[in-house]
């Protein structure tokens, strides 16, 4: 096998004749043991024996909480209407009450102050733009700094909605464009197109490839050059401008690291799981049929009746990325909080999501809002179902080996409450988590306590995250 991952994947693809890439995987023998994480990556990492994966999914614009409320502590029984589509998965679900993100309450203005810090647990800086900061890094990035050292990409970030710009209620709208922040001032961009997400993960870097693929040495040579180029430039620009170049330098170093890891991984003998290859081919085929609409803005395709199909395609890609150990950490957004996307692709819905979430205006709105909330649960159920069918080398399902978080930054869409957020956790985290229950926490239990417990389940050795007070160990002790 040639040393460059881009070449090697492409070379292997030819054998399949569909331009499909091979998952980079040691037949589910995780590449752990000697921790290849460089010293700069602070938190220590002791990965579990079999890789645990983590997915963080958002529910924009709250829910209709009175029909989400999981009821008293104990075994999980019949689910309320907002969660009803997840009924087949109750044995794999934990419903958690009374969690809150205190940082989101620093400002009374809803949405941006909530969603922006959903995964950081820190107070979002109230600004319309020039000095955006979430004052922390998101928990997925804490995880990715550890698990990312052994996978081809550190983390995967998907969103079914394009970024939006401008300002609103005193905040830069971009706060809601992503869940993930790699530094207080660096948002991690999402892939919003299934095709591009797939191409990046399993084919060559987007679009038609260059005639001559870059070798690792070429890449290294160019990266070294731009690194010194940017460093030299830093000496010539003002103080403020240096920050932007630092952002560039960080990106260069990350790509270099990725390159090193990919070469290390590529040098190992690979065994190809036929089931994975089949799944990859299936998605490639589906993309061929349900790809972006040529000539039209790709987003317009989202408006069509096939938004559900596109969402599921993206979820398939997510599951494949986890299964193939391409990454162990992902965020998935059904859309941006406070989004004005028209959800009329759902039968009986005529208006945009955020507007309908203020259902107090009338029963016709509530009817539509409920449908939207239920639609989200249906898609989560789809992902869980998909992950359950994937059997892994340790005999468990992909879902058993994962933690899937699904929750909203708002208690309820209409009145925006910030306490008792609707949160569920699916999967067994590789056996650490005991699902099938409702956990009733004391009021105002920090959401970051849950995050801390999840990070520890992943193997991240840390004693605190943001405003955590202790790990929410209740998820592991049934």
């Amino acid at each position: 096998m040639k040393p460059s991952w881009s070449i090697s994947r492409r070379t292997l693809l030819r054998g399949f004749g569909v331009g499909m890439a091979l998952p980079m995987l040691d037949a589910m023998t995780p590449l752990i043991g000697a921790d290849p994480a460089p010293a700069s990556r602070a938190a220590t990492f002791a990965a579990p024996r079999f890789p645990v994966r983590m997915v963080m999914m958002n529910l924009p614009n709250g829910t209709y909480y009175q029909e989400w409320n999981p009821g008293p502590a104990g075994a999980l029984g019949a689910l309320k209407p907002m969660l009803e589509p997840l009924q087949p998965h109750t044995a794999d679900l934990l419903l958690l009450t009374n969690l809150w993100n205190k940082s989101a309450t620093a400002d009374s203005i809803p949405h941006y102050a909530n969603e922006g810090c959903l995964l950081t647990g820190t107070v979002v800086k109230k600004t319309e733009g020039t000095d955006v900061s979430v004052n922390g890094i998101s928990m997925d990035q804490v995880a990715a700094r550890c698990t990312g050292a052994v996978t081809r990409i550190p983390s995967l970030h998907l969103n079914m909605q394009k970024p939006v710009g401008g300002k609103d209620t005193g905040y830069a709208r971009m706060y809601n464009n992503q869940l993930s922040w790699s530094s207080p001032t660096t948002p991690v961009p999402n892939e919003t197109e299934p095709r591009r997400a797939f191409d990046r993960l399993f084919r060559t870097a987007g679009g038609p490839a260059a005639v001559r693929a870059l070798s690792d040495r070429d890449r290294k040579s160019v990266l070294d050059y731009v690194l010194s180029d940017a460093t030299a430039l830093k000496g010539r620009v003002g103080l403020g401008d240096q920050r932007k170049l630092d952002e560039y330098l960080t990106a260069v170093r990350d790509v270099e690291l990725q390159l090193e890891r990919a070469s290390a991984a590529a040098s190992k003998e690979r065994v190809i799981d036929p089931a994975m290859a089949r799944a990859t081919k299936e998605i490639a085929g589906a993309l061929g049929n349900a790809g972006t609409v040529a000539g039209d803005s790709s987003f317009l395709a989202n408006l069509g009746r096939d938004h559900t199909k596109r969402t599921r395609l993206m979820l398939d890609i997510l599951a494949l990325a986890l299964w193939t150990d391409t990454t162990r950490v992902a965020t998935f957004m059904f859309g941006n909080d406070r989004n004005n996307m028209n959800y009329s692709f759902i039968d009986g819905v005529k208006e945009d999501h955020h507007n309908l979430s203020h259902y107090g205006e009338g029963p016709d709105k509530l009817v539509q809002y409920r449908k939207i909330c239920i639609w989200h649960s249906e898609q989560v159920a789809y992902l869980l179902g998909r992950m359950k069918t994937i059997k892994e080398a340790n005999g468990a399902s992909l879902l058993d080996n994962s933690m899937v978080f699904f929750g909203s930054a708002l208690h309820d869409g209409n009145n925006h409450g910030k306490e008792d957020l609707p949160i569920l956790l699916a999967g067994r985290g590789g056996g650490a988590i005991k699902p099938g229950r409702v956990i009733v926490n004391p009021k105002k239990t920090p959401l970051c306590n849950l995050y801390l417990a999840m990070l520890q389940t992943l193997g991240v050795q840390t004693e605190a995250f943001a405003d955590s007070t202790r790990p929410l160990s209740e998820i592991t002790t049934g």
């Binding site: 970024p163 710009g165 830069a172 991690v188 987007g206 001559r212 990725q258 028209n342 945009d352 203020h358």
Partner: protein
């Protein structure tokens, strides 16, 4: 600032000290406002007592105070009101405290970070540089879609992520491979006697090629050291048995991956004083403002000989570039993003399921109409007042049908005369009316808010915390109209102040349905309610009269146009330091009949467009500073919007005792004593 006001500002401490005259503005503010907004009371989380005297550091809160006073939404009805003279004095006091004198010169060009090329700028630049057209940047993650100014060229919305960089290298190599050889300025090596290329000859050829190509690619002269740094890539590559051509391509790809290409870097000069950007940097600013691409040859020539620094040459270049078809991109990006009509292409708007007439062709025409309109204004150097109202419109066959006009024939957009006042001007355009509607119905609130936000730069503050949403229609024999429901909602005092400003403007557009079609009866067959009663006492009905109301405030609308285009041109949100610039441009425009090209030329000639300054250490710290996890201060008031460059009064300087004239005030002309 007059001595009197300096004195006053100095006197007015955080609390009113004993012995101050009760007629002084600070005392008036205390008298009329502290009964609710003191440190003890702070209704709406707004503590005026703690705020003290108008201070640019607290600009955002003071702008809200000023606006509420100016529009007489505060003090609320039923509370003691300042008389007209007291009212004026408080407002003038706030203005002066925040603003400095009206005739102050622009002195601070503000700060702008190096801007990464947007995806669109990347594509256009590659096309001009290499002759390779296409959506090369499609592979990159979507840009954050606009910083605070709402424009996607805003530096603060453009990040460099590892994913971006990883893909950039591949894309760069691909476009170099596709480039027309002559665009790469390739110099052939000189063969030796045997006809072969010696390594030295090859190296010299690469050096010569780069020395010619890099200044175009990096939009500035380059140093020999910079060329040599790139030559090393070539040498390393050929040392690995890579062919000469492949090694050259890799070297060029590296040049396009460099921050010198993907950022618009501007060199710093020492010191704290503002300094002019170099002629090449100015050429780049101008070119990306008007064309969203690299400078062309004549512009680079004017930079090289230094003449671009002369105002006359800069103006001439601006007008030359405006006349070029490439300038159409500016109209498109600017007005679509300003009005929000671009969002029709990205997910907002109605569903064709309920509106079968809302075809892709109609949607495209809705997005296009304001673009065509602005292009015509610029091409004809017409008055920008026509943005508010005019007696013509541009329609294509789709829109003509939609508007029930006769299209003059042909394919594209054509100008039609308007005689009834129903169309003409931005507020009557279908794109604007659609983007301010709900999926299947009109919303006077959204439309009213749009006018306040986008035309009058007088955004209402966000709803108060835990506001009760609009209540469900009352059950009864007679169906409650939307207006009745809104009025019931407004009965809540915490809602009244803003909705009194928002809703009337929107009702003036009720003659247009959710797609902007004319109608004479309302949703569900209810009688149409098109009357607006403004807090100022003005009453109007229908779009024609609404436009008259806006014409009463045309200076204010013009201020908004200036602010938005300046923000687009600078790639950043406007700050208070830009107010003198906006005032100066406004004065020049007023003198010149508000001509569209004058706006562009004045922006290009302005201080912030031609100058920059260094960020001082304290600012850098402030940016990097982290807010503690636990907020130190109590939650900010709902009225505390961060610094918004609320428009300065556009009228010429007035004596301290008299506040600025009515035309510059938003939605209120109730100013006379």
């Amino acid at each position: 600032m007059t001595p009197r006001f300096l004195l006053m500002a100095a006197l007015a401490g955080p609390t009113l000290s004993a012995g101050e005259s009760p007629d002084q503005p600070a005392a008036l503010l205390a008298r009329f406002c502290y009964s609710c907004h003191s440190s003890a009371q702070h209704k709406g989380d707004f503590d005026l007592e703690r705020l003290g005297a108008p201070d640019p550091k607290q600009a955002s809160q003071w702008e809200q105070v000023r606006m509420n006073l100016a529009e007489r939404t505060m003090p609320p009805r039923g509370k003691p009101q300042p008389n007209a003279s007291e009212h004026e004095r408080i407002i003038a006091w706030i203005d002066r405290g925040l603003d400095g004198p009206d005739d102050s010169d622009p002195s601070d060009p503000g700060l702008v970070s190096p801007r990464r090329l947007t995806r669109l700028e990347f594509n256009r630049t590659i096309e001009d540089l290499l002759g390779v057209a296409g959506d090369h940047a499609a592979a990159f993650p979507a840009d954050s879609a606009g910083g605070s100014g709402g424009f996607d060229n805003s530096a603060d919305g453009l990040f460099v992520s590892p994913v971006f960089l990883e893909l950039l290298l591949d894309v760069a190599l691909r476009v170099v491979e596709q480039a027309k050889p002559e665009r790469l300025d390739l110099v052939a090596p000189v063969p030796d006697k045997s006809g072969a290329w010696s390594p030295q000859a090859r190296r010299r050829a690469v050096e010569a090629s780069l020395a010619s190509f890099l200044p175009r690619a990096w939009r500035r002269p380059v140093t020999p050291a910079e060329v040599q740094a790139l030559v090393q890539i070539y040498l390393r590559s050929t040392a690995q048995q890579v062919t000469h051509d492949d090694a050259v391509r890799l070297t060029y790809a590296a040049a396009l991956t460099s921050p010198n290409f993907i950022f618009r870097i501007e060199a710093a000069k020492p010191g704290t004083a503002p300094y002019p950007v170099s002629p090449f940097e100015l050429a780049t600013r101008l070119s990306y403002f008007l064309w969203s691409t690299m400078p062309d040859k004549p512009l680079l020539e004017a930079a090289r000989d230094g003449s671009l620094a002369q105002p006359a040459v800069l103006a001439a270049q601006t007008r030359r570039m405006l006349a070029d078809p490439r300038a159409a991109i500016m109209s498109r990006l600017f007005i679509s993003q300003w009005l929000g009509t671009d969002s029709l292409a990205t997910g907002t708007g109605p569903d064709a399921k309920f509106f079968p007439v809302y075809t892709p062709a109609l949607r495209a025409a809705m997005i296009e109409e304001p673009v065509v309109f602005l292009n015509a204004l610029l091409a004809g150097d017409r008055s920008l007042i026509e943005l508010i109202d005019c007696d013509y419109a541009f329609v294509d066959p789709e829109l003509a049908k939609h508007y029930q006009f006769n299209h003059p024939g042909g394919e594209g957009f054509a100008r039609v005369a308007i005689t009834d006042g129903r169309r003409g001007g931005l507020v009557t355009m279908a794109g604007v009316l659609t983007v301010t509607s709900r999926g299947d119905r009109t919303s006077p609130v959204l439309r009213g808010k749009w006018i306040l936000d986008e035309l009058l730069s007088a955004p209402p503050p966000p709803p108060p915390p835990n506001v009760k949403a609009l209540a469900a229609p009352k059950k009864g024999a007679v169906q409650e109209t939307l207006r009745q429901r809104l009025e019931r909602h407004r009965a809540d005092p915490s809602c009244t102040a803003c909705h009194l400003r928002i809703d009337p403007l929107g009702f003036g557009l009720e003659n247009f349905d959710a797609l902007g079609r004319w109608r004479d009866s309302g949703d569900g067959g209810l009688a149409l309610d098109t009357v607006g009663n403004l807090p100022s006492g003005e009453t109007f009905s229908g779009p024609k009269e609404l436009k008259l109301v806006l014409m009463q405030r045309k200076e204010r609308v013009m201020t908004t146009v200036i602010e938005r285009m300046l923000s687009y041109a600078l790639g950043r949100n406007l700050e208070r330091c830009d107010r003198p610039t906006v005032r100066r441009i406004q004065a020049a425009l007023a003198k010149d009949g508000w001509r569209a090209q004058t706006l562009v030329v004045e922006i290009v000639q302005s201080l912030p467009f031609r100058f920059k300054r260094n960020q001082v250490a304290s600012e850098a710290r402030a940016r990097a500073e982290m807010v503690p996890v636990k907020p130190a201060a109590p939650p900010t008031a709902p009225t505390a919007l961060p610094a918004k460059p609320a428009a300065p009064p556009a009228t010429p300087p007035v004596p301290p005792a008299k506040p600025s004239g009515a035309p510059a005030q938003p939605v209120s002309k109730d100013k006379s004593p």
